[in-house]
Amino acid sequence: MLCQKKEARVHLTDVKEGKVKKVDLCEDCAKAKNIEDPAGFALADLLLGLGASEELTSGATEGSPLVCPHCGFTQADFKKTGRLGCPACYETFKDGLLGMLKTMHKGNRHCGKVPRGLALGREVQERIQGLQRSLEQAVATEDYEQAARLRDEIKALKENPGAVMAG
């Protein structure tokens, strides 16, 4: 649409705070603007909103670019692709990411599905802690019968958390 001559084949839509910005370009204009070549254009800006690729820098100290110790992913790679390298990148680029996530999402904390193993883990842990407190009390009051029962229960819970919780 830039040249108004050829059919637009490259369509960019940017939605920010409910405002839609649309750009339609023919292939030649897109090439001229380097949009076809993601390396030359900050795809991160395209995907995540303008300024996103810069925001990630906010965690870096002057002169020393952040590199993910796990996968070697850098700031520049993010700018190029709009994607992260590995799960650990979330920790590496945390400071910059948090600001970005805030503008992108409804909130800054996950509230939704939790893998069953993890959900169970927390539940079981809390129960074990509770039982351990009772055990200490039982020992303190010299109720050894009760202490033995609690000890067995804790042992069973540690060995097979799923079965005990389900039971």
Binding site: V20, N108, H110, L118
Partner: protein, 369 residues
């Protein structure tokens, strides 16, 4: 097994129905998941990507829902097979571009499709005809819970499921409905509707997803935000918005029939005229005209013609589907001719549209007692 032997023929796909499929063509939920021990697919080394792919395919293939599934490495599929999967909305265009180290698993009933090593290690989707968002969420939730038993997902208490792109982090969910909205387009209300939907933080896209045009008056409405809102809340919010859009489309249809019936019947009549008589039709033209024919059926102008016929043709007129029925490689011009031949043949017994007696009968609603 070859893909064409596995896939349900288009005429049977078109027979699948769901609640409200007059306007809601399909409901879909996809989840993005990654497993620990590997970089994201776009950054992983080739050998690691292959190792992850094997591990994931094995785990997915073991799920009860995936018994009898079609499993294929992307490098084993021809370009045409991949394009057919895109045209059926089973894989993304991005996934179709992948090769070795990426795979797909498609359940026997085609309602579940898992892309392995697309942008994330797993992109799994449930797809059902009509308006049934809670049902597709339940279906994919079940598959995901089954997979948790054997896979260790990367999950953070704070940020939820970690994904390659920060736009998907949290629930990793995208809930979407494919809507056929010809009256809102004809009545020029569609831009307003899209803006209103955007204001609610939902995206409106074209027929083939992100960055595509709205061909055939088909629009895909989906959530954009994945962090800070639960899956159930997203499903409910989207369901409410889709219900409202349906109401607007129904109102637009009623308004057009009442105030501008000539405009509507003109569009439908011309669409029928071209589809039933032309000798060269491009795929884009076919999709757009078939949309109007579908509207014609909904409005009672084509009594006796089932909606499934138009839906079948909408699948078969797409480029790869058309090519698949011919052994020789067709040029675009040859395809346009074959497409027109097929359309004329399919519509040979369809009588030309009539003007239904006003007022138009209520659509899809049970008759008053």
């Amino acid at each position: 097994m070859q893909l064409h032997e596995f896939l349900t023929p288009a005429d049977q796909v078109a027979q699948r129905t769901g609640p409200g499929n007059r306007i809601v063509l399909s409901s879909r939920v996809r989840l993005a998941r990654n497993v620990s021990g590997f970089a994201f697919p776009g950054w992983a080394k080739k050998a690691d990507r292959q190792r992850a792919c094997d591990l994931l395919c094995e785990a997915v293939g073991r799920q009860p829902e995936m018994q009898g599934a079609f499993t294929a490495s992307l490098d084993s599929l021809s370009a045409m097979d991949k394009q057919i999967l895109v045209e059926r909305h089973l894989i993304s265009r991005e996934h179709a571009a992948k090769g070795a180290g990426s795979a797909l698993l498609l359940s026997r009933d085609e309602s579940l499709c898992v892309m392995v090593n697309e942008e994330d290690h797993l992109r799994m989707q449930a797809l059902l005809p009509g308006f049934q968002l809670p049902e597709v969420w339940r279906a994919i939730d079940r598959l995901d819970t089954g997979l948790e038993q054997s896979l260790e997902y990367v999950f953070s208490r704070e940020l939820g499921y970690l994904t390659a792109c920060p736009t998907n982090v949290g629930t990793g969910i995208r809930v979407s409905a494919m809507l056929h909205l010809p009256a809102l387009v004809l009545d020029e209300q569609i831009t307003q509707i899209i803006q209103a939907v955007n204001k609610l933080g939902l995206a409106v896209r074209g027929l083939y997803g992100e960055g595509t045009e709205a061909l055939g008056n088909v629009f895909q409405v989906s959530n954009q935000m994945t962090l800070g809102e639960s899956e159930a809340e997203i499903v409910e919010r989207l369901s409410k918005v889709v219900a409202q859009v349906i109401e607007h489309e129904d109102n637009a249809r009623a308004r057009l029939l009442e105030k501008e019936s000539k405009v509507v019947f003109n569009h439908i009549g011309r669409a029928y005229g071209i589809l039933a008589n032309a000798h060269s039709v491009s795929s884009k033209e076919a999709i757009n005209l078939l949309s109007l024919l579908r509207l014609g059926i909904d409005l009672g102008t084509l009594p006796g013609t089932p909606r499934a016929l138009v839906d079948e043709l909408s699948i078969l007129t797409q480029p790869a589907h058309l090519q698949a029925n011919h052994s020789d490689k067709l040029t675009a011009e040859q395809r346009d001719i074959r497409r027109a031949d097929m359309l004329r043949h399919a519509l040979r017994d369809v009588r030309r549209p009539i003007v239904p007696p006003p007022p138009a009968p209520p659509l899809d609603k049970p008759p008053a007692p």
